[in-house]
C-alpha cells in the first residue's frame, strides 16, 4: 500500500495538496460529483484512497454525495467531499442535517463565478455568506479560507481535526485560483502529525449527567442503539417538537462553536502596530492585498494587513479591537465578508468589490488605500 503521509517537499496544486492533507488527517472515504474547478480533487482521491485502504465513491449528484459522506461518518470513518458553487447549493439541505446531527465531515468549496452556472472556469469568492447562511435555520460552523497550496494541505488537515473535536461540518472555502495554482508544499513527517478523533462515549460522564457542549459520539454498530434525526431532538436523540427543546438544542449547537472561539478562530497580522489603515482580506485576495500593503508602505503609508484564516466563526472581537482610522476589505465578490467587518468596526469601512472572474489585482487595492489615505 502507498503511504498515507507523503512526507517531503513537493510542487503541488492546491487541489492535490488538499487531498494529501485530508488523507494525512485520516480521511478514508470520499463521495462526490465532478464539477469544475473542483474535479481534480475527486480525481486524485479516486487514485489515492484505494492506495491507502480507503474508498472513493462517485455519486449520482451532490445531495447524494453529502448524504453518503454523512452516512460513512456515522459508520465511523473520516469523510470529505468537494464541490463548487452549484454543487454547494445542492448540498445545503444535507449540510443542515450534518449540523443538526453533529456529524463530523469536511466539505471543500472551490469557488467559481456565479450565480447559477456563471463562470465555471474562472474564480470568485462569492459563496462566503452562503457558507454561513446557505442552509435554512440558525446555525454556526467553521470555515477556512486557504490562500495557497500549502494552506490547502494545512487547513484541510486542520479541518478534519476540528470536525472531529467539535462534531461539526467544517468548510474549506477555496477558489479556482488557490485550487489550481501550483506551489511548493511541505508535507511533514508522520510522527509530527497529530490527529484528533471524535470523543467516544464515556460511561462515567453519562452517569454523572455531565452537561457537555460537544457530546461524545457513538457510531453505528457499536452497540448503543442510537437514534439520530434531523428533527429537533432531546438529550436522548428523540424528536421533541417544542419550544423548550429547540432553545436548548440550538443554544448548545451554536454555543459549542461560538464559545470555543479562542480555539477555533485564526488570523494573521502584519504591520498592525500603529497602522492607520488596515486591509482585511482572506483567501487568494489576501495575496494581492499583501503586495498592495507592501507597496503602500514603500510610499510612506501606515498600512497593516489582517488576514482571516477562519472566516466563520467571524473574528468579531479582533475587528472591534482594531485601532485604525479606516478599514479596507477587498473581495472577489460584490461585498460579502465586508458586511461582517462593518458590523463590528469602530471606524469607516471601504469595500473593494468585483463581479468575479479574476484575481483582484494589487493595483486596485493599492488605489483604494491611497484614496482612503488622502481622505484621512
Amino acid at each position: 500500500m502507498s503511504k498515507a503521509v507523503l512526507t517531503g517537499e513537493f510542487f503541488l496544486s492546491g487541489g492535490a495538496a488538499c487531498v494529501e492533507g485530508a488523507i494525512a488527517a485520516g480521511c478514508r472515504f470520499y463521495a462526490g460529483y465532478p464539477i469544475t474547478p473542483s474535479s481534480e480533487i475527486a480525481e486524485r482521491m479516486s487514485r489515492r484512497l484505494p492506495q491507502v485502504g480507503g474508498h472513493y465513491l462517485q455519486m449520482e449528484d451532490e445531495p447524494g454525495s453529502l448524504a453518503a459522506v454523512l452516512g460513512a461518518s456515522w459508520g465511523h470513518c473520516q469523510v470529505m467531499t468537494a464541490t463548487s458553487g452549484p454543487g454547494f447549493s445542492l448540498m445545503q439541505e444535507n449540510l443542515g442535517l450534518a449540523v443538526m446531527t453533529e456529524t463530523p465531515c469536511v466539505i471543500v468549496d472551490v469557488q467559481r463565478g456565479g450565480p447559477s452556472t456563471g463562470l465555471p472556469t474562472l474564480t470568485s469568492q462569492a459563496d462566503m455568506m452562503q457558507a454561513k447562511w446557505g442552509s435554512h435555520g440558525d446555525y454556526e460552523l467553521i470555515a477556512y479560507a486557504p490562500q495557497s497550496p500549502q494552506e490547502m494541505f494545512d487547513l484541510t488537515f486542520k479541518a478534519f481535526n476540528m470536525a472531529e473535536k467539535f462534531r461539526t461540518p467544517v468548510l474549506v472555502m477555496s477558489d479556482k485560483i488557490v485550487s489550481q495554482m501550483v506551489e511548493r508544499v511541505l508535507i511533514p513527517a508522520e510522527k509530527q502529525i497529530k490527529r484528533v478523533e471524535r470523543r467516544r462515549p464515556d460511561r462515567a460522564a453519562q452517569a454523572n449527567g455531565a452537561e457537555v457542549l460537544v457530546p461524545p459520539m457513538a457510531c453505528a454498530g457499536e452497540g448503543f442503539a442510537i437514534h439520530v434525526t434531523g428533527l429537533t431532538h432531546d438529550e436522548r436523540g428523540y424528536p421533541a417538537i417544542n419550544v423548550e427543546t429547540q432553545q436548548r438544542l440550538i443554544g448548545r449547537l451554536r454555543g459549542k462553536i461560538l464559545q470555543n472561539g479562542a480555539e477555533i478562530i485564526e488570523y494573521e497580522e502584519r504591520d498592525l502596530e500603529g497602522a492607520r489603515i488596515v486591509v482585511v482580506a482572506y483567501g487568494s485576495t489576501a495575496r494581492s492585498a499583501l503586495l498592495a500593503c507592501r507597496l503602500a508602505r514603500q510610499r510612506g503609508l501606515e498600512v497593516g494587513l489582517l488576514r482571516l484564516i477562519t472566516v466563520w466563526p467571524f473574528p468579531a472581537e479582533r475587528i472591534k479591537a482594531l485601532r485604525a482610522e479606516a478599514l479596507i476589505v477587498p473581495e472577489c465578490n460584490q461585498g460579502q465578508m465586508v458586511r461582517e467587518v462593518e458590523r463590528f468596526a469602530t471606524c469607516p469601512v471601504r469595500p473593494v468589490s468585483q463581479a468575479g472572474g479574476e484575481l483582484l489585482a494589487p493595483e486596485s487595492i493599492l488605489k483604494a488605500i491611497e484614496e482612503v489615505a488622502q481622505i484621512g
Binding site: 460511561r203 453519562q206 452517569a207 457499536e222 452497540g223 448503543f224 442503539a225
Partner: protein, 92 residues
C-alpha cells in the same frame, strides 16, 4: 393450544383489524373507550375458549396493543431487557 388475549388499552386506536381478522371471531368492538377516545376490543361473551393463540390479532395490530399467549404461560415481563445492553452494558 388455547390462548389468552392480552390488551394494552393505552396503545389501542380502535382500528378494528383485530376483531375483523380473528379467524375464530373471538373479538368484537366494545362501547368502552380509552383516554384517547378509541373503542377498545373485547373478547365476545362465551368466546373465551375459542382463542387458539394463532397470534393473528397481534400481527395485524398496527399499534402493538394486543397479543396472545398460550394459556397457562406467563406474559412477557414489563422489565425492559435489551440484547444490546447485555453486550455493552449500555444504559438507556
Amino acid at each position: 393450544m388455547p390462548g389468552q388475549v392480552y390488551l394494552i388499552p393505552d396503545r389501542c386506536k380502535g382500528c378494528g383489524f383485530c376483531w375483523t381478522f380473528c379467524p375464530h371471531d373471538v373479538l368484537e368492538e366494545s362501547e368502552e373507550i380509552n383516554a384517547k377516545g378509541y373503542h377498545l376490543p373485547r373478547v365476545k361473551r362465551d368466546k373465551d375458549n375459542y382463542c387458539v393463540d394463532c397470534k393473528i390479532c397481534a400481527i395485524v395490530c398496527p399499534d402493538f396493543a394486543i397479543f396472545t399467549v398460550e394459556r397457562g404461560l406467563a406474559p412477557p415481563s414489563p422489565a425492559v431487557s435489551t440484547i444490546l445492553s447485555q453486550e455493552v452494558g449500555a444504559s438507556r
